[in-house]
């Protein structure tokens, strides 16, 4: 009987169009996903963690694709599973089933199985779509591996089917128990959003066992199983149903079964009124029926004026609003949304799990993000409910025949929904305030709350409300209307990825903006305003149209309704529409003028294409002998209010080659070709002393080649006079230029003309390059390339330069450039600063200008200054501290500090980094300045302190010793800066406190290598953009090294290294040089370390197998520890090959407080090892490499609890 019922369900559903619509939509989504990931659609890119080296049909990628798309299907599950029983209540057919000779088990079981089977059929479309998508002709074939049917099937077995059982059980149970669909809607929204938010919140945490088990859909468990898999493994290995994944599946399947059991027990095949508590309608007494009333009814005088209509509008709005809001489920949705808003605002930010102060803009961003999907759900759902309210209640024929104006009926509902948005916006504010209060932060900035929420956010919601009403009115079928709205939301995500990025046609969308305390809404304000105005007018027009389409009466088909709508276009309506259309054209025209005429409009594809063109045409000039810059004397006039800058100056160039140079190439930051378009550029002068003729002038790409009238002999010098100005006019469609802003300008040397071909304009991603017809990215010159050592890694145009600059800005701002301030004065309403360096520096420099507050201090004879935005003084002390500690350490151990000043300068949070220029460290508002450092907790890293120490160390590692521009160069500059900062930390927190830090770095490295799109080289050949190697792996390598050979020895080596190379010109040092100095101070038994740590990619898989202890008669404790060690070397593809062991590895025992009772290096030569260790106190944990000095594939099994024997 179960089968009879189930098969009936499936057969009936197979006859419905909706089933095929669902199938097709998910099929299409899957195909689309694969196409975009496979680079088939130009201008579109999507990664979703599948990475460039992962095959599209690999087990890993298929897993991701299937997971993501079926996740979207939760809404469909809700509909189908809920309808499985609700359809009987809805059709009033329940009694006919309940009186049939079937059991509760037959009924529930059959309906459940039917719903489940149907969904498995529907969601099989994702697998088919992935297959079809991967085999379309326009897919890049290199993205595919061999076909493995199991790889397609496995996500279903592991994830989809168990997840469907769980979600179907939940929604099935909700609908069967409550006999209403509302719990199902609310449930599916909560589930979707809750899961989404939880996923967001946990991206910063390593997936540990708890998260892996707690994730009901198994994604985290899969992530945990595969998080350290190399690309090779992800391509070839099927994801096993074992370990944590199996546990997770059993746990959640079990829960699903429990839900079904509860549903079964609660359900009864009986009439609903059995359990109803509604008061029965009182029966009339006979008197009322018999006696015809002889009293006359009072006479009323109906009024039909526009004032009356207005009053009706007001009262109807109030009714619609209270009816919607009084509902229990609305409250649940709002509360849940508020909860997620609070959680999101409270989000633990990385790195090192550092929190920030709950400043208002963070609260706004967090809470708005947390509530966002709830808001969309509420808008969509309640628009439908409002439009359908009378029809659902069966009241529509009565209401529609009343003498109420149509606009009153429509507008009152729309207004009710608009009022609800105010509630949502207030919830966001409440969430932010709650988090701020909870953390004791009182700078509420209500002005900002109101502006952001009411002027921007509320407006955006309102525009979407109008769209929701339009769709629900046009589509005239509630579920289909919801579905179309969901498609709209999907399109807002999908369209930009497909290259359709202009906001003039993306309904309701406006550019993303970043609010900065320093600069307010800055350059975003203009585009926000105009686009909101534009869509606001469009929304009004849409509302007018919706009014003509409004359903009144029982007319059904679309054609009849369209005819009726046509008849409803009265003169006032047409006039209003004309006004809207005109305004729309005007505003749209103005926008278009700004975004496309005044400023060229480029899609991402077009920008990339420009960069590709630059490379294709001009890379031939890369090896042209060019003179190098030796001196720069520049005058920069900055106009912050108008966001423009004029740069003039003279560069002295010297021919340091052995060739005669007759041609010089110059690149001026190409107009609109960087990812963020630089402003309008005008070159007034590019003149060489002695004259030149122009050989090539490409203004669009910013590349010029001149023939010198007087060829430059070797050692010859020539002056280049230049004058360039940059302006920002109007506003743009995408992100505006954020370097030149009203408060917080941060320019760098790249705004000045660049001598030669500029390689960093080239595209770095292989997939993108392929799309634009380029070969794979060219790696840095090899270590063996001796000629390449003549260029340093920072600048190919210069070695060390003398810099002198005169900067002017508005009188209320301070402008800072590298150099010592010679003079400061006011002239012509502008403020002038004259800076000069007293010694040569690298050819990188910055210009910062803002209204700063200054904190001054000193270290020995070095003046320390921090320029910050008033209000961001939370961590100034920590930064000062960091500077001093790092200056102390580096000058004691490496070499004297070469400057007499060191300055930290705050810049707006548009970029979240810190950078070290000569005696100048710009530091982002978004890191360090608002980080919250808890003075009470010990294991939290003081982020501002750390970053400052790192950047200060760069004054040695970069500004004294600069590496050559070959592979492995950053292992000098970045790795040694990491090392220095690590040592500063070690001296402050002690070695025991470093474990968490090292674990973080190890994690970063392992994840980075799992996402490596190209090849992973060993440290000594690291490429400049492989941060996970030179930062994270480098940190581990150096920390291990100083642990093995001693910190003093490392420092001696480094001091000699500095002495050999500081301030010297070419040939610049390479990683091999650094290694030779380090090796000099390494004893013979540790020489093997350089092969392991530097010259190869080495990984371990160390494990503590068992640990027991017994108490010996003399009161000491004997620990018996069994450990396993495995060592691997990885090849370029990420495949690991085992290698024999002959290593010194820490063996340690700790007490219950975590202090080491025993920590010694032991020589490990075989895989299984047993140790007997005697300690004084009761042991708690024991293991191999407990502080994680070595790179371990699986760091969590290194130590184990010690059990009593």
């Amino acid at each position: 009987m179960v089968f009879t019922i189930a098969s009936f369900e499936v057969r009936q559903r197979l006859r419905r169009i909706s089933t095929y619509v669902y199938f097709f939509v998910f099929f299409a989504l899957s195909v689309l996903f694969v196409c975009v990931a496979g680079g088939a659609i130009s201008g579109a890119a999507v990664d979703f963690g599948t990475g460039g080296k992962i095959w599209l049909n690999s087990p890993y990628a298929l897993n991701v694709i299937t997971m993501y798309i079926t996740f979207l299907g939760i809404v469909v599950t809700g509909a189908i599973a809920g309808q499985a029983t609700y359809q009987d209540t809805d059709s009033h057919i329940s009694d006919l089933f309940y009186t049939a000779p079937i059991t509760k088990f037959d009924y529930l079981g059959g309906r459940f199985l039917g719903a489940l089977a149907l969904q498995i059929l529907i969601f099989s479309s994702v697998g088919f779509g992935a297959y079809v998508g991967a085999h379309l002709p326009w897919i890049d074939q290199s993205r595919l591996g061999p076909n493995n049917a199991l790889a397609y099937l496995q996500p279903y077995l592991n994830l989809v089917v168990p997840n469907l059982v769980l979600t179907t059980a939940i929604f099935f149970g909700l609908a069967a128990s409550w006999r209403k669909m509302i719990p199902v809607y609310v449930g599916s929204v909560l589930l979707l959003i809750g899961y989404f938010t939880a996923a967001q919140l946990s991206t910063n945490l390593t997936v540990n066992t708890v998260i892996a088990l707690a994730d009901p859909f198994g994604a985290s468990a899969v992530e945990r199983l595969t998080q350290y898999w190399s690309p090779f493994q992800r391509n070839t290995q099927l994801i096993p149903l074992g370990g944590i994944l199996l546990l997770n599946r059993l746990l959640w399947l079990g829960l699903g079964v429990i839900v079904l059991a509860i549903t079964y027990l609660r359900f009864s095949l009986s009439h609903p009124s059995q359990r109803s508590r509604k008061p029965r309608v009182a029966t009339d007494t006979d008197e009322d029926i018999l006696v015809p009333s002889t009293r006359a009814l009072p006479i009323s005088h109906p009024v039909f004026s526009s004032v009356a209509s207005w009053q009706q509008f007001l009262s109807l709005t109030r009714i619609q609003f209270t009816e919607t809001v009084k509902n229990v489920f609305f409250l649940v949705l709002v509360l849940a949304g508020g909860l997620f808003a609070i959680l999101s605002a409270n989000q633990i930010a990385s790195p090192f799990s550092s929190r920030t102060y709950p400043v208002t803009y963070e609260m706004l961003e967090g809470a708005t993000g947390g509530l966002f999907v709830f808001a969309l759900a509420i808008i969509t759902f309640y628009a439908g409910e409002l439009v359908w309210r009378e029809r659902d209640a069966g009241l529509n024929q009565i209401v529609d025949a009343l003498p109420v104006k149509r606009w009153v009926l429509f507008t009152s509902k729309l207004t009710a929904l608009l009022l609800i948005q105010i509630i949502l916006v207030l919830v966001i504010m409440a969430a932010g305030l709650i988090v701020q209060l909870a953390q004791g932060y009182h700078r509420f900035e209500f002005g900002l709350y109101f502006t952001d929420l009411f002027a921007i956010r509320l407006f955006q919601y309102w525009v979407i409300c109008v769209l929701a009403f339009f769709i629900h009115t046009l589509v005239n079928q509630k579920y289909l209307g919801h579905f179309v709205m969901v498609l709209y939301f999907v399109s807002t995500l999908a369209l930009p990825g497909m290259g359709l990025q202009h906001f003039l046609y993306r309904y309701g969308q406006s550019p993303r903006y970043i609010y900065s305390n320093m600069n307010g809404y800055g350059p975003f304000a203009a585009s926000l305003f105009w686009f909101e105005l534009y869509w606001g007018i469009a929304a009004i027009a849409l509302a007018i149209i919706t009014n003509t389409l409004w359903v009144r009466g029982t007319g059904e088909n679309l054609r009849a309704r369209l005819q009726l709508a046509g008849a409803r276009f009265t003169r006032p309506t047409v006039a209003a529409l004309m006004v809207c259309a005109t305004l729309l054209l005007v505003v749209g025209g103005y926008i278009f003028y700004n975004t496309n005429v005044l400023n060229p409009y480029y899609s991402t594809y077009a920008i990339d294409e420009g960069r590709a063109q630059y490379e294709k045409r001009y890379r031939q000039y890369k090896d042209l002998p060019q003179p190098k810059i030796t001196d720069i004397n520049t005058q920069i006039d900055l106009d912050p209010a108008n966001r423009s800058v004029d740069m003039r100056g003279t560069m002295m160039l010297e021919n340091k080659t052995s060739f005669t140079i007759d041609r010089v190439a110059i690149t001026v930051l190409p107009v609109d070709l960087a990812p963020v378009p630089p402003p309008h550029r005008e070159i007034q002068k590019l003149t060489f002393s002695g004259g030149q003729t122009t050989l090539l002038e490409d203004n669009a790409l910013g590349f010029y080649v001149y023939r010198l009238n007087a060829p430059l002999l070797p050692h010859g010098r020539i002056a280049l006079d230049y004058s360039v100005s940059y302006k920002n006019i109007g506003f743009v469609n995408s992100t505006p230029n954020l370097d030149i802003v009203k408060n917080g300008t941060f320019l760098n040397d790249r705004y000045a003309p660049f001598v030669g071909y500029a390689p960093d304009i080239e595209l770095t991603d292989d997939s993108t390059r392929h799309k634009h017809g380029l070969d794979k990215v060219k790696r840095m010159p090899k270590l063996e390339d001796i000629a390449a050592r003549n260029e340093n890694g920072i600048s190919s145009e210069a070695d060390w330069i003398n810099l002198e600059s005169t900067v002017s800005t508005s009188p209320d701002q301070i402008a800072i450039m590298p150099g010592y301030l010679q003079k400061e004065w006011l002239e012509n309403g502008r403020r002038y600063f004259h800076y000069k360096m007293d010694a040569p520096i690298l050819n990188i420099y910055s210009l910062n200008s803002a209204r700063y507050t200054v904190r001054r201090d000193h270290w020995h004879d070095v003046s320390l200054e921090i320029y910050y935005h008033a209000g961001d003084e939370f961590n100034i002390d920590h930064m000062m501290d960091g500077m001093k500690a790092s200056l102390d350490y580096c000058s004691q151990n490496f070499s004297p500090f070469q400057f007499h000043q060191l300055r930290i300068i705050e810049f707006p949070r548009y970029g979240t980094f810190a950078e070290s220029f000569a005696n100048t460290i710009p530091f982002s508002e978004g890191i360090g300045f608002i980080t919250y450092v808890d003075p009470t907790t010990v294991d939290q890293i003081d982020l501002p302190f750390y970053v400052t120490a790192h950047e200060t160390a760069h004054q040695w590692w970069a500004h004294q010793v600069m590496s050559a521009n070959v592979e492995g160069g950053t292992s000098i500059v970045e790795t040694l800066a990491q090392y220095s900062a690590l040592m500063v930390m070690k001296h402050r927190y002690g070695p025991d406190g470093m474990k968490k830090f090292m674990h973080y770095e190890l994690d970063n490295y392992l994840r980075g290598r799992a996402q490596e799109r190209n090849e992973e080289p060993p440290l000594y050949r690291v490429d400049a953009n492989q941060g996970y190697i030179h930062y994270s792996k480098g940190a581990m390598v150096m920390y291990a090294l100083q642990d093995y050979i001693g910190e003093d020895n490392v420092n001696k080596a480094l001091a000699e290294f500095v002495k050999a190379f500081a301030f010297k010109g070419p040939p610049y040092p390479v990683s091999l040089d650094l290694i030779s100095y380090l090796q000099k101070y390494t004893p013979p038994e540790y020489q093997y370390l350089y092969d392991d740590l530097w010259r190869n990619v080495t990984l371990y898989d160390n494990r503590a197998r068992s640990a027991t202890y017994s108490q010996s008669p003399d009161g000491k404790y004997k620990v018996n520890l069994v450990v396993e060690a495995h060592k691997f070397r990885a090849d370029a593809k990420g495949q690991d090959h085992p290698v024999p062991l002959s290593d010194f590895i820490d063996i340690g025992v700790t007490d219950s407080q975590g202090k080491f009772l025993y920590l010694e290096k032991q020589k490990i030569e075989k895989e299984q090892n047993t140790f007997t260790i005697t300690v004084d106190k009761p042991p708690a944990q024991a293991g191999i490499d407990p502080i994680l000095k070595l790179i371990d594939r699986n760091p969590d099994d290194n130590t184990i609890k010690v059990d009593k024997q």
Partner: protein, 300 residues
């Protein structure tokens, strides 16, 4: 074959006593249950149809304990509820076939035959492939009776089946019911008096949860002989008459108001004797003018 209802009581959570010690013995054939809205008819019907629990009492059908052994009863039950719907997008034939399967007619050939026969019998054969959403009220009712007849039930419960049908459909429905068969109990619950008088060999009057009268319609009506009187009055005189007499019913006739009153003896002049009919019985019973509830023994 007999359906025995013994002191059935039911009280809803909001305090309404829907059934008060209802006792009936229902033989095979058409049994009419007459009473006003809210009298407890539907509650009784649903309880008999295994859809609702009773607080106390017992019901048995030839040895099947109806209240406790629901599964057994459903095997021989056919139920046409007062309000029911259908899946709008499915055809009559397909849905009827599904219900046939649920009723245990698992053999597909047999099922096809039964379904075809029933559709013919209810005059739905030419509409069998059309979606049920497009059926008129009468057609839907006929579908309802068709599904109730599936599986050769021994007890058929029809709850207010003719409310909302036009006169022609009503006649058609009556013909259907009377042709159903002999060895079956059909309980017809209605507030339309002529349904009972046209169709039923046995009846009961139920009001406010109690059985006020039970037996053969003709015999029950005969009890009223000589006690019902009629008079034509003006609407303004109505209130006065109501105070002085036991008014059974009021009708409008040619613009004037016609009343029937209950009186053991002839009331004042102006009143004419009337041959009582079932309607008089119904109103007199429900108004409580019959002091002793008349329950005639089953004549057998």
């Amino acid at each position: 074959m007999e359906l025995r209802i013994d002191k059935l009581s039911k009280r809803y959570p909001n305090g309404v006593q829907a059934l008060q010690e209802v006792s009936l013995q229902i033989p095979q054939g058409m049994f009419g249950l007459l009473g006003p809205n809210g009298a407890g008819k539907s509650t009784l019907m649903r309880t008999l149809a295994t859809l609702q629990e009773a607080d106390s009492g017992s019901v048995s059908l030839d040895g099947i304990d109806v209240l406790k052994d629901k599964d057994e009863l459903r095997k021989v039950l056919g139920y046409l509820p007062q309000e029911f719907g259908v899946y709008p997008k499915i055809s009559a034939e397909v849905l009827l076939s599904h219900f046939a399967a649920l009723k245990g007619i698992t053999n597909s050939k047999e099922r096809g035959e039964v379904v075809a026969a029933l559709l013919q019998q209810t005059n739905l054969w030419e509409h069998r492939k059309k979606p049920l959403g497009g059926f008129s009220g009468g057609m839907k009712q006929r579908f309802g009776i068709a599904q109730a007849l599936l599986g050769n039930p021994r007890l058929i419960i029809v709850d207010e089946p003719t409310a909302g049908l036009d006169p022609e459909e009503r006649v058609r429905f009556h013909n259907l019911l009377s042709a159903i068969g002999e060895n079956i109990i059909v309980i017809l619950s209605t507030h339309i008096v002529s349904d009972v008088s046209d169709l039923c060999g046995q009846m009961a009057v139920i009001h406010q949860g109690r059985v006020l009268a039970a037996g053969e319609p003709a015999a029950l009506v005969a009890n009223l002989q000589g006690k019902v009187w009629k008079k034509a009055i003006n609407s303004s005189e109505l209130a006065a008459h109501r105070e002085r007499f036991k008014v059974i019913l009021i009708r409008l006739f040619s613009g004037r108001t016609m009343i029937h009153v209950w009186s053991e003896v002839a009331p004042e002049s102006g009143f004419e004797a009337v041959t009582p009919d079932l309607e008089d019985l119904y109103f007199a019973t429900t108004r409580g003018y019959l002091q002793n509830p008349v329950t005639l023994e089953r004549v057998n």
